[in-house]
């Protein structure tokens, strides 16, 4: 390595022999590699980002999609895409919202079971997908 000229006529050099460096003790590499084996395999920064943020990103996207589809698809008798939004705004009661409990009273057990079954199925599917994505990494 080329040095800047400032200290070239350096008296201190008389006392320093750069070739005479202190060597690492015997067995240094072996001892270190034993410790290294215990450590997790390092991962690339890009992979680390993907691992850390993939779950929140997927969850966020699914949540947004569900909210948007709930707003725009609305109930069975919707006519235009904006109707549910307008109806929703119309239904807002201040200070108390007008909650219709009739819907809940009308739910029958077979209907409830079918809703729960679909819910379980969707969640299991979602869980399986996430598990297959991250299982490999966790194993490392």
């Amino acid at each position: 390595m080329k040095k800047p000229g400032k200290f070239e006529d350096d008296i201190l050099r008389k006392y320093i022999n750069p070739r005479k460096i202190e060597k690492a003790p015997e067995g240094f590499t072996g001892r270190l590699m034993t410790l290294i084996q215990i450590e997790k395999v390092p991962v690339k920064a890009a992979d680390k980002f993907r691992i850390n943020y993939l779950v929140p990103v997927i969850s966020g996207t699914v949540a947004v999609l569900l909210v948007v589809s709930a707003i725009f698809l609305g109930t069975a008798e919707n006519i235009t895409a904006y109707d549910p939004v307008i109806r929703f705004l119309d239904n807002i009661r201040i200070p108390f919202p007008d909650i219709k409990f009739d819907y809940f009273y009308n739910i029958t057990i077979p209907r409830l079971i079918s809703y729960l079954a679909i819910g379980f199925f969707v969640l299991t599917l979602f869980d399986r997908v996430l598990n297959s994505l991250f299982y490999k990494r966790n194993k490392q």
Binding site: M1, K2, K3, P4, K6, F7, D10, I11, L12, R13, K14, Y15, I16, N17, P18, K20, I21, E22, K23, A24, P25, F28, T29, R31, L32, M33, L35, I36, Q37, E39, K40, V41, P42, V43, K44, A45, D47, K48, Q140
Partner: protein, 195 residues
């Protein structure tokens, strides 16, 4: 086996071949140890520092930018670890910890032995001076004189700006020369009295 360059082994480690790290350790262990040793002046501590630095480097190998030098990156870890260890422990080091403390065993039986003895005497003087400067100055002296790094490279390792490094090196150098000269003068007086 030919060393294929740091980047080659870093990539292998990142692909899961942990054993490739052995080559990187073998390649850089002596310089890392030497830097730690020059700063802390103790072999056990230096080994601990160098070992920790290699483990830290391994753990964060994924964040290493392949464009930069692995050695510089590793030295930065060693330098910072050594400085912070010395600052926290503030251990008083003994001259016996330093190498080449063989001034008493000088022999003038033949030319070769005389040259060797002289070299060892100089080394002892250097170590006495190194003991009396701050840990940061020790680090700078070590990087500049032993590792033969340029001011730019030292700046990359220490994070100090170039002009600060030049000033600190100049001061450390002056301090060391004063200490060396003082010790030499004292030794001469002792030698003459003994005769």
């Amino acid at each position: 086996m030919d060393y294929k360059g740091d980047i080659f082994y870093i990539r292998q480690v990142l692909e899961g071949k942990t054993i490739a790290y052995t080559y990187l350790v073998d390649q850089h262990k002596d310089h890392a140890f030497n830097l730690a040793f020059r700063i802390c002046g103790n072999r056990e501590e230096a080994e601990e520092i160098a070992q920790d630095a290699f483990i830290k480097a391994y753990k964060s190998l994924g964040n290493f930018k392949m464009r930069s030098s692995f050695a510089t990156w590793l030295y930065r870890i060693v330098y910072n670890s050594a400085i912070s260890l010395i600052r926290t422990r503030k251990k008083v080091i003994s001259l016996e910890d330093f190498p080449g403390n063989t001034a008493d065993s000088m022999s003038y039986s033949d030319n070769e032995a005389e040259t060797k003895a002289e070299e060892e005497y100089r080394n002892t003087l250097l170590n006495i001076a190194l003991q009396k400067i701050s840990e940061e100055e020790k680090g700078l002296i070590s990087l500049y004189y032993f590792e033969e790094m340029t001011i730019d490279e030292i700046s990359a390792v220490t994070g100090l700006n170039k002009s600060t490094i030049k000033v600190k090196l100049f001061r450390a150098r002056q301090k060391m020369l004063e200490i060396i000269q003082e010790t030499e003068n004292r030794n001469k007086i002792h030698y003459e009295k003994a005769r």
